[in-house]
């Protein structure tokens, strides 16, 4: 009895899970594996269109006779790169209409013209003509003839399905494209973005955890940067920081803080003189990191606030009795209580920031020293139109992510479940 019940239970479970698992498999897991496949191939953006035989049908009347027609098919191979093999053609004609002097490659059977064109090389073009006439010498309705579309099909290699592999993409990723700088930029961005967001999150959470007038309102406002659409916010910031007529630069110039406007998003380095040492500051990258902090500190804030509110009040009351000031309370009670959550938060936000694409893409497009790994995927795949390279960079990202996840689960995976 119980075994049949558990069987039913199992079957139900699999039925309930099947749709979701299939969808996730098709859209998330399959692409990750497909990336491996594509990354070993030399594929450009233009190669992924499958070549098709195409025909444009033009119907012409022949002078002095309305019972005869000339039909021109403009045939072509849609691809300029790949051949099509065994092209077959067929077109249907109404009753009583027959072709005259049919091409050798074709035959006429049960009101259908069927042709075997053989192989078309890339960029192939031909004007193929058929003359038709009505058997009973009646007038032919040329519009009707034109409305019949011919069928064409052929075999072609889908470049994605062939088995030619190459290491060229990986060689390019690691050797030719400043891989070290790319990796360093990504890590700078990720590390400082995460750290800043968490620090700001601690401040905000500590603030909202106090009682003051308008506290709930403040809590809502603090989440605005994350809730707002990234497109709108990124473009607003680009406008604000614009060197020519951006509000921030104009204000700074107006109050005499700076002499000339600074192109915060378009300048790679800012050279600062401190005690005779010339320091090169990555300006655009720093600006992007600040945007990142601005946009994602709400998440850190939310999580830290939830933890702060769970700290027992009597800890603070005891501290009051002992005569501890607010700063001591923070460092000796609050901070130890939230370190566990902070470490988890750091790891997870690190992984997420590592993958960030939209923010940098919309602010700088990866220019002026802000090229990170995700942006590089886009640039290689769609700006340089080299799909294989893009996939190779994706593979690098996936491998790094897996490393981070292993570290995460080794270090704090168990703790995460306790909290």
């Amino acid at each position: 009895m119980s075994s049949t019940l558990s069987k039913i239970e199992k079957r139900t479970a699999y039925t309930l899970l099947l749709p979701a698992v299939c969808l996730v498999f098709a859209i998330i897991l399959f692409p990750i594996f497909a990336n491996v496949w594509i990354s070993f191939k030399e594929v450009g953006l233009k190669d992924i269109r499958i070549p098709e035989p195409r025909a444009k049908k033009i119907v012409k009347n022949i002078q002095d006779s309305n019972s005869e027609l000339k039909i021109i098919y403009k045939l072509r191979n849609s691809s300029l790169i790949q051949d099509i093999r065994e092209v077959k053609f067929s077109d249907k004609f109404p009753k009583n209409i027959e072709p005259v002097n049919l091409d050798k490659r074709c035959e006429f059977k049960s009101q259908k013209v069927k042709c075997f064109f053989g192989n078309w090389e890339s960029g192939y073009r031909e004007n193929f003509e058929i003359f038709v006439k009505d058997v009973n010498n009646n007038a032919i309705n040329s519009k009707y003839i034109k409305s019949n579309k011919p069928d064409l099909n052929g075999k072609s290699n889908n470049i994605l399905l062939t088995t030619d592999f190459t290491f060229k993409n990986f060689k390019n990723v690691f050797i030719n494209n400043n891989f070290v700088e790319l990796l360093m930029t990504t890590f700078y961005f990720t590390f400082f973005g995460t750290l800043g967001a968490i620090l700001l999150g601690i401040f905000a959470a500590q603030l909202v955890n106090q009682k003051f007038y308008g506290r709930t309102f403040m809590r809502s406002i603090l989440l605005f940067p994350y809730v707002g659409p990234v497109v709108a916010l990124a473009y607003t910031w680009t406008l604000l920081l614009d060197p020519n007529s951006g509000t921030i630069n104009s204000l700074l110039v107006n109050y005499g803080v700076i002499e000339k406007p600074i192109n915060l998003l378009g300048q790679k380095y800012l050279i600062v003189n401190i005690l005779g040492f010339e320091l090169k500051l990555r300006l655009a990258l720093t600006t992007v990191i600040f945007f990142e902090i601005w946009r994602y500190f709400p998440l850190a804030f939310l999580f830290i606030l939830a933890r702060l509110q769970a700290i027992p009040k009597d800890l603070y009351e005891a501290a009051d009795v002992d005569g501890a000031g607010p700063f001591r309370k923070f460092f000796y009670i609050t901070l130890p209580q939230i370190t566990a959550i902070l470490s988890i938060l750091f790891m997870i936000r690190f992984i997420w920031n590592f993958n960030k694409f939209e923010d940098i893409f919309l602010l700088t497009g990866g220019a002026s020293g802000t090229l990170t790994l995700p942006i590089s995927v886009y640039q290689q795949g769609f700006a340089v139109s080299n799909i294989g390279m893009g996939s190779a960079v994706s593979i690098v990202i996936v491998l790094l992510l897996i490393t981070f996840m292993i570290i995460y689960f080794k270090l704090i995976g168990k703790k995460a479940n306790e909290i």
């Binding site: 707002g228 604000l240 939209e358 919309l362």
Partner: protein
């Protein structure tokens, strides 16, 4: 002890007041007043004087009358010492000082004798400052977004810091950018597409996620622990590593440039977190209720429809809102998949506007307001639900 805390009170509070006045001045500059000097030092001295007066008068006087007279006096002094300014600017200064002196109510010489008082005071003013800081840093870009959409390109280029809106123009002139983006740039269609995609994603996600979450939460089957850990791991994989294979496959299947293609991708990318959130809630529903349902002769389907869904409406609401937000704000896939303006979502349409360098910025900002406003309104109205969704979705996953 007393002396030290007195000094700290004076410094902390007067610096705070000065900064607030400077911020007010900067904001006023954006309304077209031509200040070119913050006069920080002068204002600091003024503030110091104000604080000293307040502390030494202490509680010897009727409080309301005291703060009113002091604020009025200092406002007049301030206006006299600074550049010419219109009435509304001085009123702002007056209100700031009124608020500030009210804050200083409890600070008299007696109060400053307590233990740890200097730390407390610094902490208090830091908090006040933090409130102003966070509010300003967060709201300023939103303010700029709205205000810019009411200006014209030429006015902005002539004087980029004058963001005042000219209310003497008629309504049509003020809202011109909005009329233009709806008429010329076809934003009405994009709003419809975006709503269709977002609502569709929510519905399909729920349809797939509720049964799956129920199976994970309640039923025993082979591979359950594996499945529940892999849900989280899958959620960690970013869209950018999926984009190239999906692009190639969708191109070959003809799913690019179609709203259906977007729906499929959005649903798949939000499913893991939806399942994760829902199963957590389903586990908290007492098993006895379902067992009662089983005895009544319900099958699994009936249990989900009649018991689980009605009991977990709050969780379903937060999942729906979270998924809606993700789908509404999504940019990467809409950038990759949509080339045809007929299928654009709002985000993609705004990105398309910037493709043309000639597009005046007020149109861009009007478009931004159009895409931001609905999601912020939904957020404010359903904050409770969305916040729990955000917490689970962003950090656990």
């Amino acid at each position: 002890m007393k002396f030290k805390s007195l000094i700290i009170t004076l410094l902390a509070s007067s610096i705070f007041l000065t900064i607030i006045i400077c911020i007010w001045k900067i904001l006023a500059t954006l309304q077209g007043l031509s200040f070119t000097n913050l006069k920080f030092n002068l204002n600091l001295l003024l503030s110091l004087g104000l604080v000293i007066t307040c502390v030494f008068i202490g509680k010897k006087f009727n409080h309301k009358l005291k703060i009113f007279i002091i604020s009025l006096l200092f406002t007049i002094l301030y206006t006299f010492l600074n550049e010419n300014s219109p009435m509304w600017f001085s009123v702002g200064i007056f209100l700031i000082i009124l608020f500030f002196t009210n804050k200083l109510k409890k600070y008299d010489l007696k109060y400053l004798n307590q233990d740890f008082i200097s730390e407390k005071i610094v902490f208090e003013f830091l908090s006040l400052f933090a409130i102003v800081f966070f509010a300003l840093v967060i709201l300023f870009p939103f303010y700029i977004m709205v205000v810019t959409s009411f200006k014209t390109q030429s006015a902005l280029l002539m004087n980029p810091i004058d963001l005042s809106i000219d209310f003497s123009k008629n309504i049509f002139e003020i809202f011109k950018s909005y009329f233009v983006i709806f008429k010329t740039y076809d934003f009405g269609r994009y709003i419809l597409t975006s709503s269709y995609v977002s609502v569709g994603t929510v519905l399909i996600t729920l349809l797939f996620a509720i049964p799956a979450a129920y199976a994970v939460a309640r039923l025993n089957f082979f591979g359950k622990t594996f499945l529940s850990t892999s849900i989280l791991i899958i959620y960690m994989f970013p869209a950018i590593v999926l984009v190239i294979p999906l692009y190639t496959v969708f191109s070959q299947l003809g799913l690019r440039n179609s709203v259906e293609g977007l729906l499929i991708v959005y649903t798949a990318t939000t499913l893991p977190v939806a399942i994760y959130m829902l199963q957590g809630y389903f586990k908290s529903i007492p098993k006895e209720i379902e067992e009662a349902g089983l005895i009544d002769g319900q099958n699994w389907f009936g249990i989900i429809i009649k018991i689980i869904i009605p009991l977990s409406l709050p969780a379903i609401a937060s999942v729906s809102l979270y998924v809606f937000m993700i789908a509404w704000n999504e940019f990467l896939f809409s950038l990759m998949f949509l080339d045809n303006p007929k299928t654009f979502t709002l985000s993609r349409a705004i990105n398309h506007l910037t493709g043309d360098a000639e597009t005046p910025r007020q149109y861009l900002m009007a478009g931004s307001v159009v895409v931001t406003l609905p999601i912020l309104l939904i957020f404010i109205y359903f904050e409770k639900y969305l916040v729990s969704g955000l917490t689970a979705g962003s950090v656990k996953g």
